[in-house]
Subunit: 218 residues, 2 copies
């Protein structure tokens, strides 16, 4: 099982920590602020107050044996760069760093951080995508062209079956499931599956095809 | 077509603006910092320097006629709350606010902001989910229980067909597509579709079923 180390317990770092802990992963949390470490004592496998720019401190913690490190310090690029470089030198296989601006991202990529996350920029794209149609309730980008999108059933779909609607042929969209409610989600769709009035369609396809569909079926 | 107003041009606000503009949406950008407004002149439909806590300024801009407002100011809860309340009072149908902490989110929800986005917290969850398996390349949460996840084909799947593998029956997962490469993505999977060595499987299912699958097929 992989071992994780998270450096920096801001909102982002803590969120990564909580999610990994929910899945019972082994996580070492490092922060130079004792209050932060105090706050996560019951969540992290281990939580240590240390200055992560101090190579000796990192060595003493055996950080090199960890598989994945997340450097979750957004406000200080120099700190984030230093820590990322030390982690790589000490042998951590994969270093993920948080950045706030695209410029920071470029610097981190230059020092060969394996993955850079920009929560603000990515969150903005995601929100904008979810706001783009009158019926689009939630939309998520999972590749450059293809998106997962949910929307309310258009009125003229109600009572028809998946087979009748031929969504793929008519609209170039792939309906992957139907949400009858937040907790009642149907994925194994058959040709005879009938659409009901409050169903939410779970669709994947290119954004432009989704918008054409919305125009047509308003 | 819906009209958007974005207040606050930090990283998040600008990202929302750029994405909406990419889709040719009508967007009014407001910020009280002239440099920010200068920066987005060619991107936004309209960009105006104004203090968005000033009700008269908002009225003069006809903000009440906008369908969706995004209040993208994370560092100052009071400002964000004031602006959100003014927008609602002026008649904006949907107000989305950015928050940094869950506590801020609760305050904004109390004043009936329609949607609160926490890019740091959500980004942390998303990253952690994508790091959870040796082969999970990218994972995205699109409902509480169900996730979209991509991973490399396990070695013993190569050469088998979708029909052979019975992924749904054996693993309770729904394979919705195969990425042969970033640009060559196949969605219309048939029983005879054969898995190739570098294929990336695009799967939806509950995280615990994905992890069971990963254990089994390492
Ligand atoms: N040299 C360091 N060693 C260890 N921890 C550090 C160091 N420098 C900063 N930190 C810690 O990193 C955490 C996050 O720092 P910072 O506030 O810069 O990040 P942020 O990106 O703004 O956080 P958020 O995720 O909330 O946006 C803080 O808890 C801080 O104590
Ligand atoms: N009263 C106001 N009226 C208009 N714009 C404002 C007001 N107060 C702040 N702003 C603008 O909002 C923008 C974002 O503010 P702030 O830096 O607080 O947000 P942030 O959440 O930290 O941004 P980011 O999205 O980069 O994380 C800034 O450009 C600032 O000039």
């Amino acid at each position: 099982q992989r071992k994780f180390v998270i450096i920096g317990l801001g909102e982002f770092g803590i969120s990564v920590l909580k999610t990994l802990s929910d899945y019972h992963m082994e996580v070492l949390a490092i922060d130079n602020n004792p209050d932060k470490i105090q706050m996560v004592q019951t969540i992290a496998t281990n939580a240590v107050v240390a200055d992560a720019t101090d190579e000796n401190a990192l060595k003493a913690l055996g950080v090199g044996k960890y598989d994945i490190a997340v450097v979750a310090i957004g406000t200080n690029l120099e700190t984030s760069v230093l820590i990322s470089m030390l982690l790589k030198e000490l042998g951590v296989e994969m270093v993920v760093a948080k950045a706030v601006t695209v410029l920071q991202q470029r610097v981190l990529q230059k020092i060969e951080v394996d993955k850079v996350v920009l929560p603000e920029v990515e969150g903005g794209k995601r929100l904008a995508n979810s706001l783009l149609g009158p019926n689009i309730l939630d939309s998520v980008e999972f590749s450059d062209k293809v998106k997962y999108i949910e929307f309310k059933t258009p009125p003229n779909f109600v009572g028809k079956t998946i087979g009748d609607l031929k969504i793929r042929n008519n609209y170039n969209l792939n309906i992957i499931g139907i949400k009858h409610s937040e907790t009642d989600i149907e994925f194994l769709l058959q040709a005879e599956t009938e659409i009901k009035p409050n169903d939410i369609l779970m669709v994947i396809g290119k954004m432009e095809d989704v918008m054409k569909f919305q125009e047509k079926e308003k």
